[in-house]
């Protein structure tokens, strides 16, 4: 039920990834799947997905979901790289 009029154009059409100058890249072989990057992303640009068991650093975390960065929306603020406890997110210069 709609309570008040609601615009129906989602901001998903707005690809804010174009703002980025630095690009975060996750090294899955040392990522411990703690989800801290997902937790602190102000742009909801990190999704949790299944199927990262092959690159898992150890058996304990093999069944956990992996964080996958959606570069359509990532503005490159660098919070994920700064907060990562394993320091396995590298900020790389964006190439044209």
């Amino acid at each position: 039920m709609v309570l008040v009029p609601l615009a129906d154009a989602s901001s998903r059409a707005n690809h804010t990834g174009l703002w980025r100058t630095l690009k975060p890249v996750i090294d899955y072989s040392s990522c411990i799947r703690c989800e801290i990057c997902w937790k602190f992303c102000p742009d909801n640009a990190i999704n949790l997905e299944d199927g990262g068991s092959a690159s898992s650093p150890n058996q304990k975390v093999a069944s956990f979901s992996i964080p996958v960065i959606d570069y359509n929306y990532c503005k490159g603020c660098g919070i994920c790289a700064n907060e990562c406890p394993e320091k396995c997110i590298e900020m790389e210069f964006e190439e044209e």
């Binding site: 709609v2 309570l3 008040v4 609601l6 615009a7 129906d8 154009a9 989602s10 901001s11 998903r12 059409a13 707005n14 690809h15 804010t16 703002w19 799947r33 703690c34 989800e35 937790k39 602190f40 102000p42 742009d43 909801n44 640009a45 949790l48 069944s63 956990f64 979901s65 959606d70 359509n72 929306y73 503005k75 490159g76 603020c77 660098g78 919070i79 790289a81 700064n82 907060e83």
Partner: protein, 294 residues
């Protein structure tokens, strides 16, 4: 499998137009995770009025009402009463305003809504200034901060007054649930919103949301600065519920000097000015410790 206790449901969509490293978007994201889909948000002029983007874009998957700057309290009162008449009492009605719209312009409306006792949430995201319009000073800006209306220059016109803490005013007014939270501790923030949901009546939550644009620090430091605000006791986390007051004691304290050095808005401060700020922080810490022991 989830290593965190944070609900996975996302009611805020990507593609919004907030600055890089924005703290206010995280405040909304966490609050909505705790509130769920049956929520109506009322937003006055603030950063959150522009974050969803230009018409017809939206970034929230729930109804969002734009309201005049001074009218958030009145808006949520009306929404609540109208929803109750329609039989939609299970909806959460939330006013989501910045510190300018709460501490300065919307204070009368907020106070009135809280006094009338409507069953509403009022969430104040505190970025310590009018950041949306170009970093002007607000009542919630801390002592010593440089803003565009308190430029330092040769006459050292930085903000000379101490921060006005709206959560303290709400406690003094006898609001049934008052809490402060910050984005560096999302589990604590979400738990506080969930605790507030159990209470019927007005609820007030103040969330410190650091602003890289207005505090002049690099965007990747947002969480770090938010954490340091708590560790340095510049921003104290507490929960006041049904007459019981509980203060969170930061585990790894840092000095006000370390906090001040993390942001360029304080970069002009000398030892004496930092001491004035430290003394105020210590005085308030002592005051709240005493309040907790009663």
């Amino acid at each position: 499998m989830m290593p965190t206790s944070i609900p996975q449901q996302e009611l805020m969509e990507p593609g919004h137009t907030a600055c890089q490293g924005c703290g206010a978007t995280l405040a909304m994201r966490y609050a909505l995770k705790a509130l769920g889909k049956k929520t109506v948000v009322s937003v006055p002029a603030s950063c959150w009025a522009v974050i969803p983007g230009a018409m017809p874009n939206r970034t929230l998957d729930i109804p969002m009402v734009y309201t005049p700057f001074a009218a958030t309290g009145a808006s949520i009162s009306g929404l609540r009463e109208a929803l109750d008449i329609r039989g939609d009492s299970d909806y959460n009605v939330v006013g989501f305003a910045g510190d300018g719209g709460t501490a300065d312009i919307g204070l009368q409306s907020l106070s009135g809504a809280m006094e009338r006792g409507h069953n509403v949430f009022y969430i104040m995201y505190d970025n310590e200034g009018y950041m949306n319009t170009g970093v002007q000073r607000s009542g919630s800006t801390p002592y010593g901060a440089e803003t565009t209306t308190t430029p330092v220059g040769l006459e050292r016109n930085f903000k000379k007054q101490q921060k006005k803490i709206v959560a303290d005013i709400m406690m003094a007014q006898g609001v049934p649930y008052v809490a402060t939270a910050t984005i560096a501790y999302p589990e604590d923030l979400i738990r506080k919103v969930q605790n507030a949901r159990k209470i019927t009546g007005p609820k007030f939550i103040q969330i410190l949301a650091p602003c890289p644009t207005g505090w002049y620090y690099p965007p990747e430091k947002t969480i770090e600065v938010s954490r340091m605000a708590v560790q340095s006791r510049m921003f104290l986390l507490y929960e006041y519920s049904e007459g019981k007051f509980r203060l969170t004691k930061p585990s790894r304290p840092v000095t006000v000097k370390e906090y001040v050095q993390s942001q360029k808005r304080f970069s002009h401060m000398d030892e004496n000015e930092i001491r004035i700020l430290q003394e105020e922080v210590d005085r308030r810490w002592g005051e709240l410790l005493e309040k907790e022991s009663h």
